[in-house]
Symmetry: C2
Subunit: 206 residues, 2 copies
DNA sequence: TAGATTGTTAATCGATTAACAATC
DNA sequence: TAGATTGTTAATCGATTAACAATC
């Protein structure tokens, strides 16, 4: 399956273009040239055009890109014309903040299931979601079509939790635990570790 | 100033090596070959050796790398042999979660100043930090040596807040707002936007 | 039509990887 | 010494960029 010939690094830039185009649309813009978009997004115009050309021709020569049309196209390419239900495992400080975060739903990502192992947390309600026992993972995932998980458990529980998620049909994991997960082919992982980013930054702070 | 000749992509991998080496050390390992490290970190052994060789020779031919020594070396390269004080601006759900997050302090990053604009939040105490009025940014930063900021304000306040931070001596920003900041040369920005990562993942979910 | 801007081909640049000498 | 593994040079690979034809 899948799209074997498009570089992943190209795909990784599409959400950035989409974010910026949404911003421009909210500001009332209707058409934009690759040069103007380049200024906003900080990526060379020729690279933007090359990236888009992998998927087709979305612009009008001499004019630029119709913003609404390009947003539609990018959303379609990225499979964003649907609501993506998500499970979150680990409802500590970070998990709670993510459940409350409005930015997910705004872009079509909805946390519909929250799991934790702590009896004090199980049963509590956060932003309309009642936290379930992680022991119910199998039954809850079985009767859902959730394919994306947010992993916010402590580092020492992350690998085993990820394994359980994958065993129950999860295909993509946004991993907030500071470890490298080992998962089978076909499962996509994206890591969010602010400490790694900070350590990268400090290299440049003399 | 700075190190002009080492590719940024090489620098970006060093924190990953460090994280894995710390993990191995905790498990009682003392020496590791680039091949074994490669398996743990998911990066080819030859690339690990090449990356390290930009900074010197840290291994022993025929043996591998002394883990403690390599950790020390990487920490020194990344300027981690000090506590980095940080300011956080925006103490909403996410800001509060980050203030409570133990992972920063564990790696030598300490939030010492928290600022917000909301009168209901100003004055509250979170994990030992009393939230200050963002209007005090200038005076508070002036009498500190804080060079790193965590930016967790709403998107529409992010650019102006970042400008103010930079005007008061901040040199590195970990940006949690879903916008691209425009900042002067010499200020480093790292973006943490989970939505962009999710949109990248969904591309591969057929 | 003239001007502007896209989409694409070809060249360049830089990163990854293969090969292997050095050496513990 | 023989075996193992590093560190480095050179080759390869892939991504970025320059140039420009196409065309609105």
């Amino acid at each position: 399956m899948a799209k074997p010939n498009i570089p992943d690094i190209v795909v990784s830039r599409l959400p950035l273009y989409l974010q910026t185009l949404n911003h421009l649309l909210r500001e009332g813009e209707e058409v934009i040239s690759s040069e103007e978009l380049s200024e906003q997004v900080g990526i060379p115009a020729v690279q933007i055009r090359k990236d888009l050309s992998y998927f087709g021709g979305f612009g009008v020569k001499g004019k630029g890109y119709d913003i609404i049309h390009l947003i539609d196209s990018l959303r379609s390419i990225l499979n964003l014309n649907q609501i993506w239900p998500m499970v979150i495992v680990g409802v500590g400080n970070l998990g709670q903040a993510l459940i409350r975060y409005q930015g997910f739903a705004r872009q079509g990502f909805e946390i519909v299931l929250a799991l934790d192992i702590n009896p004090k947390i199980i049963g509590t309600e956060i932003a309309g979601i009642v936290v379930q026992d992680v022991g119910l993972m199998e039954s809850e995932l079985k009767r859902s079509d959730i394919r994306i998980a947010l992993l916010t458990v402590p580092a020492n529980a992350a690998q085993s939790t990820a394994d359980a998620l994958v065993a129950n049909g999860i295909k993509a994991i946004l991993n907030y635990a500071p470890i490298i997960l080992k998962l089978p082919e076909g499962v996509r992982v994206a890591n969010i570790d602010p400490v790694l980013k900070l350590e990268h930054l400090t290299y440049y702070l003399s």
